[in-house]
């Protein structure tokens, strides 16, 4: 009976963070945290702007913009690239792809990429957030982010690539899966 109960239980989800500095002297950091640990610990933390798993956002203009309404409108809309900002040194794209909100930022390094055949230098940030997680994050009052609810929502996804940052020196990867090893 216990075996069946164990089989019925969802596998543990882990959030992994990997930071790699390039070069022979580059540092490498790997962090693996069970989502269940974050879920259990967050409600117990009572810090200055962090209480019961929620972060207070003081001094931000979120109360003047209905983020939930915007998010819901985008979620219901067709897949598309909704925001494109192109400037001399930076490109920003915000798109909807299925149940995910995708944000891509590419920043050119000054003077980079001029040489023929050179790789496009600079930094690239790729963020992929499920609408369910974004909604959970914004499920509190207008001046707070519900991190605990977002972590709970994250647990519903078996594998999820959340954040990837690459530049000439560093790479950062944050993802969720059911393995307790980073790779």
């Amino acid at each position: 009976m216990f075996a069946f109960a164990a089989l019925a239980m969802p596998a543990d989800r882990w959030i992994h963070v990997r930071v790699t500095e390039s070069g022979p002297d580059g540092d490498r950091v790997r962090i693996n945290i069970p989502l269940s640990l974050a879920e259990a610990v967050l409600p117990t933390i009572k810090a200055d702007k962090f209480c019961k798993g929620k972060v207070k956002l003081e001094g931000h203009a979120f109360d003047q913009v209905d983020l939930r309404a915007i998010l819901e409108a985008v979620r219901k809309a067709q897949d598309n690239q909704y925001v494109t900002v192109e400037s001399k040194h930076e490109n920003v794209e915000v798109a909807k792809a299925g149940e995910f909100l995708r944000i891509k930022v590419h920043e050119d390094r000054e003077g980079a990429g001029k040489a023929a055949g050179a790789q496009k230098a600079g930094s690239t940030v790729d963020i992929k957030i499920p609408f369910k997680v974004a909604n959970a994050l914004l499920s509190g009052s207008s001046d707070e982010l519900d991190v605990l609810a977002a972590i709970r929502a994250l647990g519903e996804y078996p594998n999820l690539e959340l954040v990837t940052v690459n530049d000439e020196n560093d790479s950062v990867r944050i993802w969720v899966d059911s393995s307790n090893y980073a790779d």
């Binding site: 790997r30 962090i31 259990a40």
Partner: protein, 140 residues
């Protein structure tokens, strides 16, 4: 059976039960090796059951603000140690650089911390529950 034999049997029984209890609670292990020519080597193994008791014996005046500082974090430490003990074994934090390597991993109901730097190697391992109990004793 003589009274002496009965007493000896009782003492042996107590010793075995005590030994099983101490073993089941695990041990705190600290190992520090300096990498210099005449570097020191400190090796310490303490039964985990002793930790909360030792924490209780620390003079209150030596702790001063500790209860006030640790107090708010006690529920977090308690929940974290319980939840960690339940989690599958594996590495939690790994830091590799030219100067040092740090590993924090969980195995069974214990946490293992290993640091290998240019100056020394440090190994600390402790049962999660005992550490939480000791911290709560210090915060009293």
């Amino acid at each position: 059976m003589t009274t002496g034999m009965t007493l000896l049997g009782g003492a042996l029984g107590l010793l075995v039960v005590g030994g099983v209890f101490v073993y089941s609670e695990g041990a705190v292990r600290v190992d520090v090796r300096e990498k210099t020519r005449n570097g020191e080597h400190i090796h310490l193994i303490v039964p985990a059951v002793v930790l909360p008791v030792a924490a209780r014996l620390v003079p209150r005046d030596k702790l001063k603000d500790l209860p006030r500082k640790i107090g708010p974090w006690l529920p977090t430490i308690k929940v974290a140690s319980e939840e960690l003990a339940r989690c599958p074994d594996g590495p939690l934090v790994e830091v590799d650089s030219n100067r040092e390597h740090v590993r924090i991993h969980k195995l069974g109901r214990s946490l293992f911390i290993d640091v290998d730097s240019e100056e020394e190697t440090v190994h600390v391992s402790f049962p999660l529950q005992a550490a939480a109990d000791a911290v709560s004793q210090l915060a009293r």
